[in-house]
């Protein structure tokens, strides 16, 4: 989860998020090297003694500083496209979760299993336990099995919301009258936090998402206990 002054991406809980982090590291290194190069060129201007009042053009240098950036961009674009298509791969989800955004809470439905439905409200700060996370904890978490493909359908009942869990690399807009679908895979147990990511009114900042990832047996037990 995010704490104050966090700058980087959160630790991944999904293979796709892991790949996104790898691509981020690759692109950032290239950008840092380009920045260092430009900084060096600017620094060297302090020590320049040459002036050419009749300079008009330089074909060779212009070819170099056109072709080299194109080559560098290739090294960024090819991994980017590979990841883009990887994110769209078709798989067979074992669980389907529906998430509906409201002002200002999320409601969830597990239609695969006897229509389990519940609302998920943020726990107000004055009711928060001493070890709770302010503005992040909710009363009912989303329980999902780990090591299983999960399909999520996101929509909204009033205005546009956005269902986000950074640790899983998931961000899906919930638009009224529309179902948006995405898949993800959680590869470790734990609690993963997110917050609504589309401005939706006064309490837009106060409708978080918490996923509790549990082993499959525990998930089945939870489903059974909710049925009874």
């Amino acid at each position: 989860m995010s704490t104050w002054a966090n700058l980087g991406l959160q630790d991944s809980a999904s293979p796709l998020m892991e790949q996104l982090i790898f691509f981020h590291d690759h692109a950032l290194l290239i950008l840092v090297m380009i920045t260092v190069l430009v900084g060096y060129l600017m620094f060297m201007l302090f020590f320049n003694n040459y002036v050419n009042r009749f300079l008009l053009h330089g074909q060779l240098i212009e070819m170099i500083w056109t072709i080299l950036p194109a080559i560098i961009l290739l090294f960024i674009a090819l991994p980017s496209l590979r990841l883009l298509y990887l994110l769209d791969e078709i798989n067979e989800p074992s669980v389907t979760l529906k998430s509906i955004g409201h002002q200002w809470y999320w409601s969830y439905e597990y239609s695969d299993f006897n229509n389990i439905e519940f609302d998920s409200y943020m726990i107000p700060t004055n009711e928060l336990a001493i070890d709770g996370f302010r503005l992040l904890d909710v009363d009912n978490r989303v329980i999902l099995p780990m090591n299983s493909q999960i399909r999520i359908l996101v929509t909204a009942a009033d205005v546009i919301h956005s269902w986000t869990v950074p640790a899983l690399g998931v961000k899906v807009d919930g638009t009224p009258g529309r179902l948006n679908q995405t898949n993800f895979f959680i590869n470790r147990p734990g609690l993963f936090y997110g917050q609504c990511s589309e401005i939706c009114g006064a309490n837009h900042s106060f409708m978080p998402i918490v996923i509790e990832s549990v082993p499959v047996n525990n998930f089945i037990k939870w489903i059974s206990s909710n049925n009874s």
């Binding site: 002054a5 966090n6 700058l7 980087g8 790898f22 590291d25 690759h26 290194l29 290239i30 090297m33 260092v36 190069l37 060096y40 060297m44 020590f47 560098i72 090294f75």
Partner: protein
């Protein structure tokens, strides 16, 4: 029973991120910086031109770092993919051991 001393893990934190844990990062910069300094010094020894040697050294650092990084990351990602395939194959082997599926697969590969 004597306890083995733990090796201190290499750690280099920039803006909250331990960059030493990023695959290929440490080696890229070690080879890039040392190669840049080395080639810059050799250029100076050969030409006695300070500005040129600085430019050559920096250029070597830039090209060396990026080239090593790209090559190392590509090889790392290929190895990682093979490791994941192997892990999945071992999982499936444990799952199908002693079943008809395994016997059919053995017949196909025989």
């Amino acid at each position: 029973m004597a306890e083995e001393p733990e090796e201190p893990g290499k750690s280099f934190v920039i803006f909250g991120r331990d960059v030493a844990q990023i695959p290929c990062f440490r080696n890229s910069f070690l080879y890039g910086i040392s190669g840049g300094i080395g080639i810059g010094v050799l250029t100076f020894l050969g030409t006695s031109r300070t500005h040129l040697s600085t430019h050559v050294g920096f250029g070597s650092f830039f090209c060396g770092t990026i080239a090593y990084w790209v090559a190392c990351r590509y090889q790392w990602s290929v190895r990682r993919f093979e490791q994941q395939q192997l892990r999945e194959a071992m999982r499936r082997q444990a799952l199908y051991e002693g079943t008809q599926v395994e016997r059919d697969l053995d017949l196909k590969s025989a």
